[in-house]
Symmetry: C2
Subunit: 538 residues, 2 copies
């Protein structure tokens, strides 16, 4: 492999020692020189290779999406995508159109719907039956925490007025006790269990599409997490290995697994971090609560104007025991917690797990990756310092903030002062690792950076930024997409900053984020993305 030199552009290293350089050289997949053009050229003198003129375009470290459902993201390109649809009528039209294109008996799948964007009431199976009576329809809500299905799907799943609510879930019912067609949390499994599984080639195609999309934004790594239905776990790790064996793994993946795999991993003697820089085992993904939009995020006090506090999707004793058990075997956890009550419970359990390890001293098994909380959407100010104290990564998705403004204000009220509290979390000393939660939101990290810097939607609303005191600088936001995830994956020594010896993972942008106006940030994207020294997107 020959040497490549990139020159004539601002190169933002995120390394505090030399934050901006003019040129960079790579060889054998690593960075071998950084500095002025003269110095870098001199250091590779006599080596064969190519030179790439950045022509003033900015080069930044490769970004990581620290929370993505990668196969599902790829599938949104193949299924009905209701993201951004603002009326039930439009949703029905898209569904009818897709239904007409499918073979008889095929399931109509889709996702992305958000009834809060259509008014406050939940849709029903009757709304689906009206446009698609014959074939089963199954549509996942944008947050992944509820399903909207038609009568045919309920019939195939055998869900009737007499079906009991499963533990940790709810079958929405009308006044007569009939299911309405909305299934929340674990109740989603009732229908999902009868949906035919995807074939391997369907999954691989979805993965390929998602990886291509990721590279086009300048992402060079992903942290893949199982969704609430455990849909991505074994398959995604298997499929990523298949792509790799076929020479198609174009970016790096850290893969978290769901509880059904915990015993096997422990018995096998595997620990978090096992693998190589392309494909590594993360840790155990757990769920402590539901979501804001489904009103199932667990809160310390009731939702505004409601009589409930959301749903704890796991018993606190089980949460506590599972985290301690995993950590005691060298396996880190990534726990979904949205509500302030859920966050408190998770921090409590993480505190116990840390105490266990401290009691063991040197005999504690190595924990190659830190524990993390996924989302941390609203945290009680008393709990805020505990993230840093316990060394817990705050894995957050900035676009959730600007998407959720209306719902958060309606359901959380004054508690929004502690919601999506990036600046407070950074100032508490904790590490932020940013991601997209795609397909819940777009995988585009520049939408996330824009949201983090402005707390506005791309249309500029709200004008002053929503709770603007929580805005980040461009550098802080970029660090949360580069350095934070590298810490979270235990790879800070070779990823996140451009340094000599680091992996040659970076991206050349269409513009310069450090010279852009904040309102322009969402329009940035990659002109060229390099992973392991190879141009994977251009």
């Amino acid at each position: 492999m020959s040497t490549m030199v990139f020159y004539n552009g601002p190169i933002y290293t995120l390394d505090p020692e030399q934050p901006v350089v003019r040129a960079l050289a790579i060889r054998h997949g690593r960075i071998i020189a950084l500095g002025s053009e003269g110095r870098v050229q001199a250091s590779v003198a006599g080596q064969r290779g190519e030179t790439i003129n950045l022509r003033g375009r900015a080069l930044v470290p490769g970004l990581t999406d620290a929370h993505v459902h990668i196969i599902q993201q790829g599938l949104t390109l193949r299924e009905v995508n209701l993201a951004g649809i603002t009326s039930l009528k439009d949703a029905q039209r898209l569904i009818a159109e897709r239904a007409a294109t499918l073979p008889p008996d095929a399931w109509l799948r889709g996702s992305g719907w958000n009834h809060l964007a259509w008014g406050q009431s939940w849709p029903t199976r009757a709304d689906l039956d009206a446009v698609c009576p014959d074939r089963p329809v199954v549509l996942t809500r944008k947050d992944g925490h509820s399903l909207w299905v038609n009568s045919r799907a309920l019939a195939l799943a055998g869900v009737t007025a007499t079906t009991p609510h499963p533990e940790g879930g709810q079958i929405q019912r009308n006044r007569n006790g009939e299911p309405t067609g909305i299934l929340i949390e674990t109740a989603m499994e009732l229908v999902r269990a009868v949906v035919p599984p995807l074939s391997e080639e369907e999954r691989l195609d979805a993965l390929r599409a998602a990886l291509r999309e990721a590279l086009s934004y300048g992402l060079t790594s992903v942290h893949v997490v199982p969704g609430p239905n455990h849909a991505t776990g074994p398959e995604v790790l298997r499929d990523l290995q298949t792509l790799r064996a076929r020479g198609e793994l174009s970016l790096r993946a850290l893969v978290y697994f769901a509880p059904p795999d915990l015993e096997g991993v422990i018995h096998m003697g595997l620990r978090s971090g096992f693998g190589d820089p392309w494909l590594r085992l993360g840790g155990l993904k757990l769920f402590a609560d539901g979501s804001l939009g489904s009103e199932s995020a667990e809160m310390l006090s009731h939702y505004e104007g409601r009589r409930h506090v959301g749903i704890a999707t796991i018993e606190p004793e089980v949460l506590d025991a599972t985290i301690r058990y995993a950590n005691s075997h060298g396996i880190c956890v990534a726990v979904h917690a949205i509500g302030d009550a859920a966050n408190r419970k998770v921090l409590q359990a993480l505190e116990h797990a840390l105490a266990d390890r401290e009691a063991l001293g040197e005999a504690a098994p190595p924990l190659a990756l830190p524990n993390r909380i996924e989302h941390v959407q609203v945290i009680h100010p008393k709990d805020l310092p505990r993230l840093a104290e316990l060394g817990v990564i705050a894995s957050m998705q900035p676009i959730h903030c600007t998407s959720d403004i209306e719902a958060a204000e309606a359901l959380w009220g004054a508690r929004c002062a502690y919601a999506y509290a990036w600046r407070s979390i950074l100032e508490s000393g904790a590490t932020l690792a940013f991601g997209s939660d795609a397909p819940v939101e777009s995988m585009n990290p520049w939408l996330g950076i824009h949201a983090a810097v402005t707390r506005q939607r791309p249309n500029g609303w709200p004008e002053e930024g929503w709770y603007a005191e929580q805005c980040l600088s461009v550098e802080e936001a970029l660090r949360a997409y580069c350095c934070g995830p590298a810490l979270a994956s235990g790879e800070a020594q070779c990823k996140g900053q451009l340094q000599i010896g680091a992996l040659a993972d970076f991206t050349v942008l269409t513009g310069d984020p450090f010279r852009s106006k904040p309102y322009e940030l969402h329009a940035l994207t990659a002109a060229m993305t390099i992973v392991g020294g190879k141009v994977q997107f251009e």
Copy 2:
């Protein structure tokens, strides 16, 4: 990391393109230059670094022990080691000496005994009771396929005249039906189940000792396989990760697992080869039969002068189904097969597994490592060509051949013409991967190379070599310790031969194997061993 240049010595690359060079340079853990001293010096001109004068000593690629029970090997340094003991009296003396040093109630553990070296009759519990009546004694036979225990151990395990033989094993009994103290194959578990487990630090100490020993011979990689009792599986992988986290993993390991882990690995979506160049997941270790010395290797015709054909330790249907199941999930197998009947059954199953894969074509999951048969000690000439036809690695241990001469002649007779048939196997086009089976035999690969080249013991017996037509050349034997294991671990592109870009794993020897007399080969050892560019032994 700086550049290191090794010069002034014959450097045997095992690369047919340039088999011998004078100098070699490494950097960042890889080989960056090879050739004449002038060329290598020129290619690193201007780079900081050190130079090492080989002073005529030979440098060869790092060797791999392709079959080792690594923790058990380390334990032999801590337990009673009866290897090489030639009389029951001497064994009893060593046992009595060790018994006197142990705390009350502590188990006396040991291994390495071989009653065939004391005459033909099996030892008994009475022989142990005579020197150690109070504490339990458990001694593993050198082949790992039977246990010799005293009355106290039998009592603690509750093994009496009425205990039934477990499936796949045998409790040796006297005329009155009383257990004699010898437990064969799965019957070993009856006592092992009550032996207190080792602590983590005891296991880590054993591992450290074994790794130090391996480096001292010039070994830079090991393929770790679970023994018949599945004793090394989860623990060894866990412990190797612990050593690695502590910066003490000094050589590379490929780790095979036992059947209890198969479901977990498959459910998790893991495949053979997952990991990195330091620690990788191998495949499933299976056992098709027992051993020659325990007369439990499964033969096509009865043992000489006996009425039995040995023991199939797995039902052929289960063997077949398990291999096909593992391969269909991208998991390779390493199947212990000593007798000609066992080898035939394994080849049959591997043929079915290959047919399954061929039927699937491109849809077959990638198999990153080839399947292998462990030991292949005696193979029917009709079956010989099938190893190469099916792409199966013959994982063999040359020292078994010279150790087993008397037993093989006594028990297999004329079938010895097809026993340890290295040359026939090589000429059939199959790949040999050599190892030690330590602690069954010494881990020293130079004893193995000596045995492979001479088919004599170090004392020169038998004078003409045993079935000398099966002798290998030094180069062939060294390839079987370097290139064969690299093929077996799916790493032929970066290991086994010294080439530009390959891992900087090699050893400087105390002499030159290519200029030594064959009878001197067993006395060679490492003067310096480099793994990943770092001097790990000197």
